[in-house]
Amino acid sequence: MTAAVAPPAGRLIGAPVARKEDLPLLTGTARFVGDVGRPGMVHAVFVRGPVAHARVGAVDIEAARAAPGVVDVVTAADLPDTLAPIPIRMFSRPGLERYLQWPLARDVVRYSGDPVAVVLAENRYAAEDAAELVDIEYEPLEPVLRADAAPADAQAATFVVEHGDVDAAFAGAATVVRRRLRVHRHAAVPLEPRGLVAELDPDTGVLTVLGAAKIPHINRRILARLLAWPEERVRLVELHVGGGFGARGEFYPEDFVVPFCAVRLGRPVSWIEDREENLRACNHSREQMHEIAIALDPDGRFLALHDRFFNDAGGYVRTHGLVVPGMTAALLPGPYRWQSYRCEVRHVLTNKTPAGTYRAPGRYEANFVRERLLDVAAAELGLDPVELRRRNLLHRRDFPYPTGTNTDGHPVVYDTGDYPLLLDKALERFDWDELRRWRTAPASAGMHRGLGLALFVEKSGIAKWEYARVELTAAGDVEVFTGSASVGQGLETALAQICADALEVPFARVTVRHGDTATVPDGMGAFGSRAATLGGSAVLIAAEALRKRIDGGEATPLTEEATFESEDMTFPYGVHVVAVEVEERTGRVGIHRYGVAYDIGRAINPLLVEGQLVGGVAQGVGGALLEELVYDDGGQLVSASFLDYLLPTAAEVPPVDVLITEDAPTPRNPLGAKGAGEGGAAAAGAALGNAVADALGVDVERLPLSPERVAALAGGTA
């Protein structure tokens, strides 16, 4: 899709307007946290526990303290007595507080990478060298490395989501299929690792933290609480962010320790995460083990879905609480009608890096296990996989549709949709019939062709509300202040389009400001595909109110604020289609065709939506075929560099054919828009799993489909 120069105001929404964000990025004027320097700034390096599970013995910091250039060495003993562990910000549950992480480990380390001390020095080199001199005794404890073989006290939470009589449905079923399916541990791996620069202004007493991302206002609240300071004395500022994907921007141990050290020393402190740290310390995601079964009647209609799964939480419960397993249990039903449903969830602590959200959290996993099992069922029944799905899809007349599931106690009610229509459109657009001919046409020796299809329902606009303020200056310029955050998704562009249309001012005259808690009073941020839907709606409401005052002849400057609130989320839905050619000898999965169809109600900017979907597919393909966080028997992460953690490159990511439809706008916000951020990733594992299974005529029971695993599947030795 070609980017358009901005059309006139009034016709901006829906146009592929070029991104406002690109000019600073392309001209190199964008500032990232690693670009920030301050006079007298000290550099922090964290000392991390090297073992998976151990009691912390004697900590000797004297040699490190005496090393050249070292300013300070801080351990848990130096933190305030009043300190609390890092709290859960959403999807909490009584009992989880026992599993929270402290900013620095005190008695026990629970994963390789658990921070124990921090060394502060005049430069990074001195800090790195001194960090090696910190001498800590560890008394090893038995590590727990499998969530499905963990002791009872490792089960942080168990819960059941259900409706209908599942047992009766299975008892009366004509066909039952069941499988054990696994999704492996991988991670968001943003291009720019995390980083912070914290400084205390001695004159105002305000502590400023640069390098915030995703949720600056929420993190300000957490930091103020942990410091026992009033929020007014804490300011978080977002700079340019080189990718977040759910992982970056959550409140981590470093988010307390670095500002704390800046206050302690009275000097600015910088911490820039390196890649090995990023892979060991930043949230992992996706590791789940499912025992899933479906019951069908003789016509292939779905009677029941029954799933039991383990969600590997890693060493601690972090800020996300039960978001990931909660989302799996809530959205596992997908776009289908189930007469009954039961999902039994175990959220289990292990001695690996703590896990949190990553683009389409819980749904990437849910879509893989459900769609994989549907292909197994279709084969069992001798039905075409498309036909089996079509027979069970919800129809337009079914909406709004309560799934009988819930997110954090709130019922899931699909807002709008026409799933059969999107399936038809997708199959036509991606030449399904032609792909079927291609699949059966003779391939080269040792090559196997297969097709994979996956349908899914996403959710968007979680956490209810967002704030916006629109200001019209005397000069006729417009400034939009949003509580949402920019993680590279095109926030400034989309909000400027909405505002310019409502005010009928030129796009170029609208500036969007975000991510500074000093200029925006409150906000929820950018996660769960919420920025355009909730943030955009707040901007629309504020701009429309301002427009009325302009039309009423009021003199500039003018300001309007709005908070948009929606109790229910919106539910975009999509189809992934993939055609693969698998090389028997090397296990290479070559992608012949990749198509994503996504209905998001209303596309504010199709260029941005396409970018989101293509980027999501790239990450989804990486997760399905290459990326894997591997632990050895002792709990060492042995894929902690890009030598072993294989990111997809231009060679592996196929061209992606994107079909954006607007057949089912949502009534749950004034834009009619549903979020577009996660649909590209959500079903990539599912579609590729089905395609490789189809190509080789084997059961694919786990991801990733790495060359060695695919070769083993092809050779019958898996």
Binding site: V47, E132, I136, G634
Partner: protein, 185 residues
């Protein structure tokens, strides 16, 4: 990780077995190791330097005979070390079993190796390949030492594994080329 090595010493089982129990001589065969007698009998102190591509570590630790099974002619040497700089550690249990092979002795060594810290995170495949190469060198040295009398008292040279790493890459390249050429023919 578990590594297995097998080699033949041109000496009988009895002298080989006695030499194997001389821990100081055995420990000298650990690549890059220097040893000195420890405070109590049968317990050695020592350091071991390892270079793994861009990473260099010095481990300080102990070696001891952990199990001796006279009847089965099996001995277990346990080695434990901690990085002198940094947070990492390494430990190995080397189980050697002797069997007569005509007039010579066949030694089977099975090593359980566990490593924490930077080398564990540096290159999964390389770590395994380099450890295998180290064990092969260790086995070769043992074979040589056991075959030799009198004892060579000089410490083994500190081992630079850069060539070993290079060798690993070269081996991989060769096998890749063989496969590619094999496909053509």
């Amino acid at each position: 990780m578990t590594l297995e090595n097998e080699f033949v010493v041109s000496a009988g089982v009895e002298p080989t077995w006695r030499l194997l129990l001389d821990l100081e001589r055995v420990a000298r065969c650990l690549p890059g190791a220097t040893v000195e007698p420890g405070p109590d009998d049968g317990h050695l102190l020592g350091t071991m330097r390892v270079k793994l591509g861009p990473i260099a570590m010095t481990y300080k630790g102990t070696a001891r005979l952990d199990e001796v099974d006279e009847a089965a002619r099996t001995a277990v040497v346990a080695v434990e070390g901690k990085e002198t700089k940094g947070q990492g550690s390494a430990s190995a249990r080397i189980r050697s079993t002797l069997a007569a092979d005509s007039a010579a002795t066949r030694v089977r060594a099975e090593t359980q190796l566990s490593v924490t810290g930077r080398p564990a995170q540096f290159g999964r495949g390389n770590m395994q390949d380099v450890a295998a190469k180290m064990m092969a060198d260790f086995a070769e040295c043992l074979s040589r030492t056991l075959a030799e009398t009198p004892v060579d008292a000089a410490p083994a040279p500190a081992l630079d594994l850069a060539p070993a790493v290079g060798g690993v890459f070269a081996d991989r390249l060769r096998s890749l080329l063989r496969r590619l050429l094999g496909r053509r023919s």
